[in-house]
């Protein structure tokens, strides 16, 4: 009986250490991002470094606190998460891409636009 209780305590502690480690890791990443941003570390790499730190923290949180990928088969949750994040990334990245090009292409004056359309027409369909 006492052995059973000991095993339970052990399991509790294992989870506790796992969560505490995840929490400390998240804090460290937050501090690095914070001081990196306000002190302009990493030069021109800063945006990339900040995004990489956020991605690292994202995966830590997903695995440590949300237990992603630890469910029994069939892994419906994992499949759904991967699918939706893929869709979300497509929406975000492609929106940014389109809007960037739109800003670039929308500078034409009406006459220029007319010329451009004529040119396109000459190429045929």
């Amino acid at each position: 009986m006492s052995v059973g209780k000991k095993t339970v305590e052990k399991a509790f502690e294992n989870y506790y250490y796992q969560y505490a480690l995840g929490f400390i890791g998240a804090l460290i990443i937050t501090y690095v991002a914070y001081f990196g941003a306000i002190n302009q570390w990493f030069g021109s790499l800063l945006p990339g470094v900040l995004l990489a730190l956020a991605t690292a923290q994202f995966f830590i949180q997903m695995v440590v606190f949300l237990h992603l990928g630890k469910e029994d088969k069939p892994r419906y949750t994992l499949i759904s998460v991967v699918y939706v994040f893929l869709m979300m990334l497509i929406i975000v990245v492609v929106s940014l891409w389109i809007m960037k090009n739109m800003n670039y292409n929308m500078h034409a004056a009406p006459e220029q636009m007319y010329e451009y359309m004529l040119e396109q027409n000459k190429k045929g369909f």
Partner: protein, 196 residues
């Protein structure tokens, strides 16, 4: 073949999957708001930019509070699973306290901005900013309300399997909001503080 298309093991697993699907629909909402924000962040119409309005030390405090809140929520769930009612209540109180602290700081930030005349009507950037940060704040407020309802249920009906499942869903929600905040912290506040 039918063996592989197995039904989920029990009601708990089904409920959790359903809740995950709700969270994923929220991912799409936040994704759209992030895309909007990133497109509009330089359209300040002569008003302040994100670099002018961000206060890095406030945001750092908020982030630490939310991370701590997420950690104590995980610990509360653990205490519930291992039948430690006293620790459970302490962790729930800590979760609520950190969450409330975060929300009050965010409301303070919004109030300062509006008092200075930089409300959501001032520019496209500020509209996108308030929409994105405000949506996250509303989620936090709902989470706090949810936690209060759970504690009320605990007081009136005690701990049973039903309660454990409900609290598990709350913890899922809370960790999810923490993850959204990581991206807010990086893309809105840290990019703003660095002037990228």
């Amino acid at each position: 073949m039918t063996k592989n298309v197995a039904v989920l093991h029990n009601a708990d697993a089904t409920t959790r999957l359903g809740f995950w699907l709700y969270l994923l629909s929220d991912v799409m909402i936040f994704g759209s708001l992030f895309a909007t924000y990133m497109v509009l962040r330089h359209n300040t119409a002569g008003g302040p930019s994100i670099h002018d309005i961000v206060e890095p030390s406030t945001v750092l405090l908020q982030t630490i509070a939310l991370l701590a809140s997420s950690f104590t929520a995980a610990m509360a769930q653990l205490a519930l699973r291992f039948n430690k009612p006293k620790e459970f209540m302490q962790f729930v109180l800590a979760t609520f306290g950190f969450g409330l602290f975060f929300l009050l700081m965010e409301i303070g930030e919004f109030r300062t901005l509006i008092d200075e005349g930089h409300s959501w009507q001032a520019s496209a950037f500020l509209s996108a900013f308030f929409a994105l940060v405000g949506t996250h704040g509303v989620h936090i407020a709902i989470g706090l309300l949810w936690l209060m309802v759970l504690v009320y249920r605990l007081r009136t009906r005690g701990v049973d399997d039903n309660f454990k499942r409900k609290f598990g869903l709350f913890a899922l929600f809370w960790h999810f909001l923490d993850i959204v905040w990581i991206w807010l912290f990086t893309i809105v506040y840290m990019f703003g503080a660095a002037g990228i």
